[in-house]
């Protein structure tokens, strides 16, 4: 069982996300993370899906995705060298004083940004791979995490390879 990152180019039409996610639940594949948005091509969206499975299951995921009429291209990005990122926003309890400056120091170390300062809270924006986000989360937890929100993982292949070039 290994984790795979699929980049899926789809027609930007209503219902397409539901077709893709419906396929996963119907065939018993579990989605670990999902991110959707427009991409460089017009009328096209790019879905990034993280799914865990054995080789046979992963092959089926890919083939079943390809069968959807509105799916234009499917690529297992994790097959090759790639970069991946997630973004999280963490609202931490930060009373003025030492706590607040400690949190700001931690954020600095992680090259995270403070994007909101309240009278008793800070909102940290952090970007990175899953490990980095987990690490900063652990470090600020003692101060009191009031809320945490995370995007799905997005990924690109390194170098000149692209999904549409089919590699």
């Amino acid at each position: 069982m290994t984790s795979h990152i699929f980049s899926v180019l789809v027609e930007d039409s209503p219902g397409v996300l539901s077709r893709v996610t419906g396929l996963f639940s119907r065939r018993g594949f579990n989605i670990e993370s999902l991110a959707v948005g427009p991409c460089e091509q017009p009328a096209t969206s790019r879905i990034t899906i993280v799914v865990t499975g054995n080789d046979v299951q992963i092959e089926q995921v890919k083939k079943q995705l390809n069968k959807l009429i509105e799916v234009i291209k499917v690529l297992d990005v994790s097959d090759a060298e790639h970069v991946e990122r997630e973004l999280a926003m963490i609202k931490v309890r930060a009373e003025p004083g030492t706590a607040r400056s400690e949190i700001m120091q931690i954020a600095g170390i992680f090259r995270a940004k403070i994007i909101d300062v309240g009278s008793e809270t800070l909102v940290i924006e952090v970007t990175g791979d899953s490990g980095k986000i987990a690490a900063i989360e652990d470090l600020v937890r003692p101060y009191g995490i009031l809320e945490l929100v995370r995007t799905g993982k997005i990924a690109l292949q390194r170098g000149s390879a692209t999904v549409s070039s089919g590699r």
Binding site: V10, P14, G15, R26, K63, I69
Partner: protein
């Protein structure tokens, strides 16, 4: 300017549609108004489920795309079983449903249901049309998608205001659909084809395992040519029956759960499994690890997702059965004899024929054999689901593809009778017989109204055993004869038929079977033949679910009649 409904009807005619099966309702009124004087025949069924089964039966018998029409909400929901049936068996159907006006979508309006959402898992694709200007393109795409690649049902959901909207007639007559994400691959990879040929030429004990894909791609002639050149036996799935004549010397009949003993033995002993247009379904393979344990596997399918889904092949070939077979045949010498293998297979065939008792009682197998003898090479045979289906698959003598129509993958009881209506319109010159059980027939028995109204001359043979026979058989074999809710009370189908104005007869004695079938055949209109068969006859051989297919329950060995 044209209305959406007008564009729809013109679009159907552009696709060559001359018959649709449907049921009207509120939001399809604009479409029905267009149909009123359109040059398309409409058959009014009694339940929408029958409309889609009829469209499906039409598609299976003709090879063309079947079309059905239903209103929103309950009408659309009643299509779901039929869509799932067509989807599982890869049958080209276009279903058109009405929808509440776009302004009411999502408001839980009267007779609103999210039919595109509901049918997503059971259609190849579906559309909710929100702008009449898209309709022309969508109709073309829908027919293109339904009838190419791995075929299947496509649904078009048409809100009432889209049907009534007046829009300019947008484009000329022959715009090809352009779908970025849909490019089915027909031609097999030449390297893989060569590898398949190499394996074929090395094989000592090759066998063909052929399925519905061969029929769908119209590749039966090529299949028989390959089998004859290679001197290799052929076994087919339920869906593949007819792709080689039943009485062809190389044909071993059906394999799997209710397959012949010799087909299952041959699969088990083979050293090369040439699989084409099949999907290694559990009803075929039994215990998948023990299926064809000594064989190298070649798997040809138009759907890449079928390859390696259940069984990993040695040579995968994605492509159309006809194209791939043609390419392979070119590389196969005129004759590659396998005398020892064929002799072994012939011995199995001789020593383990299909059998049933011949003790003077009325057995369902006898009815089917008699029907086959009477029809010769004529007729379209439609089955319901259950024992009636398996006995027909085992005992009818099929002579050609598209002669056999049956719900395979989904196993939909109530499919056969409505499908037979479609089969008649596809093959108006052929006698159409339905082999039904009393359980299945009662699932869509209301269609007697339709066949009476249009004088559709289908002949229904009810193998009446007053049981849900296949479930009863499992209860007998695996649940110590605890017949939990499988017994049905006596029904006089003759009287029901006559109430609809349909000719009918009841048969209780084996001596009456032949003349009763001849009477039904000779009758110009629909006919119902209620045949009271032995109540607890079983379908054998039988591979228990999940067992090795070479380990069959073979049933009664005494007092038997040879095949």
């Amino acid at each position: 300017m044209k209305s959406g409904a007008q564009i729809l009807i013109e679009g159907l005619k552009e696709q060559g549609v001359d018959i649709i099966f449907g049921y009207p309702g509120g939001v399809v009124l604009p479409i029905y108004d267009e149909l009123y004087d359109a040059d398309i025949r409409h058959i009014l069924v009694r339940h929408e489920q029958a409309a889609i089964h009829a469209a499906d039966g039409y598609a299976r018998a003709s090879g063309k795309t079947g079309v059905c029409l239903a209103t929103s909400g309950p009408g659309a929901c009643n299509l779901v079983t039929g869509l799932a049936t067509a989807y599982m068996d890869s049958i080209p159907v276009v279903a058109i449903t009405g929808q509440v006006p776009t302004s009411l979508l999502g408001n839980d309006a009267f007779q609103e249901s999210d039919i595109t959402g509901i049918t997503m898992p059971v259609t190849k694709h579906n559309y909710l049309v929100t702008d009449a200007r898209d309709l022309k393109r969508i109709i073309r795409e829908a027919f293109h998608i339904a009838s190419t690649g791995r075929k299947g049902p496509v649904l078009i959901d048409l809100p009432k205001d889209v049907s009534t909207a007046l829009v300019p007639d947008v484009d000329g007559p022959d715009q090809q659909p352009r779908l970025r994400g849909y490019k089915p691959k027909y031609q097999g990879h030449s390297k893989m084809i060569q590898r398949a040929v190499d394996l074929l030429l090395q094989a000592q004990r090759p066998i063909i395992y052929a399925g519905g894909g061969v029929i769908s791609s119209d590749a039966s002639a090529e299949l028989v040519t390959l089998a004859e050149r290679m001197c290799m036996p052929v076994t087919t799935t339920l869906m593949g029956l007819g792709c080689i004549p039943t009485d062809h010397p190389l044909n071993l009949g059906m394999l799997g759960m209710h397959g012949t003993e010799y087909a299952n033995y041959a699969i088990t002993e083979s050293d090369l499994l040439f699989s084409i247009g099949v999907r290694f379904d559990d009803r075929v393979t039994g215990k998948i690890e023990a299926f064809a344990p000594h064989a190298k596997i070649i798997h040809i399918d138009i759907d890449p997702a079928e390859i390696g889904k259940n069984k990993q092949p040695d040579v995968p070939i994605v492509g159309d059965a006809k194209s791939v077979l043609t390419d392979i045949i070119k590389k196969i010498p005129e004759s590659c004899p396998h005398p020892e293998w064929l002799e072994k297979v012939a011995n199995w065939k001789k020593n383990h024929p299909l059998i049933y008792r011949s003790d003077g009682k009325l057995y369902p197998q006898f009815v089917i054999k008699t029907l086959a003898n009477i029809l010769g090479d004529k007729g379209v045979i439609v089955s319901e689901v259950g024992q009636n289906q398996m006995w027909t698959a085992q005992w009818f003598t099929f002579t050609r593809p598209r002669q056999w129509i049956s719900s395979g993958g989904l196993g939909t009881m109530g499919y056969g009778f409505p499908a037979s209506m479609g089969a008649h319109f596809a093959c108006p010159d052929q006698p159409v017989f339905v082999l039904a059980g009393d359980g299945s027939f009662q699932m869509n028995i209301q269609e007697l109204g339709t066949v009476a109204q249009y004088n559709i001359p289908v002949k229904v043979i009810v193998l009446n055993n007053r049981f849900l026979g296949m479930v009863r058989q499992w209860q007998q074999l695996f649940y110590e004869r605890r017949y939990s809710y499988t017994e049905l009370p006596e029904v006089h189908f003759e009287r029901i038929a006559k109430a609809y104005g349909i000719e009918a007869a009841t048969v209780t004695d084996v001596s009456e079977v032949e003349s009763a079938i001849r009477t039904a055949l000779a009758h110009p209109g629909p006919y119902v033949l209620d045949i009271r068969v032995e109540r607890e006859e079983n379908v054998f051989p039988m591979v228990p679910a999940g067992a090795n297919i070479s380990e069959m329950i073979v049933g009664h060995h005494t007092e038997h009649e040879e095949e």
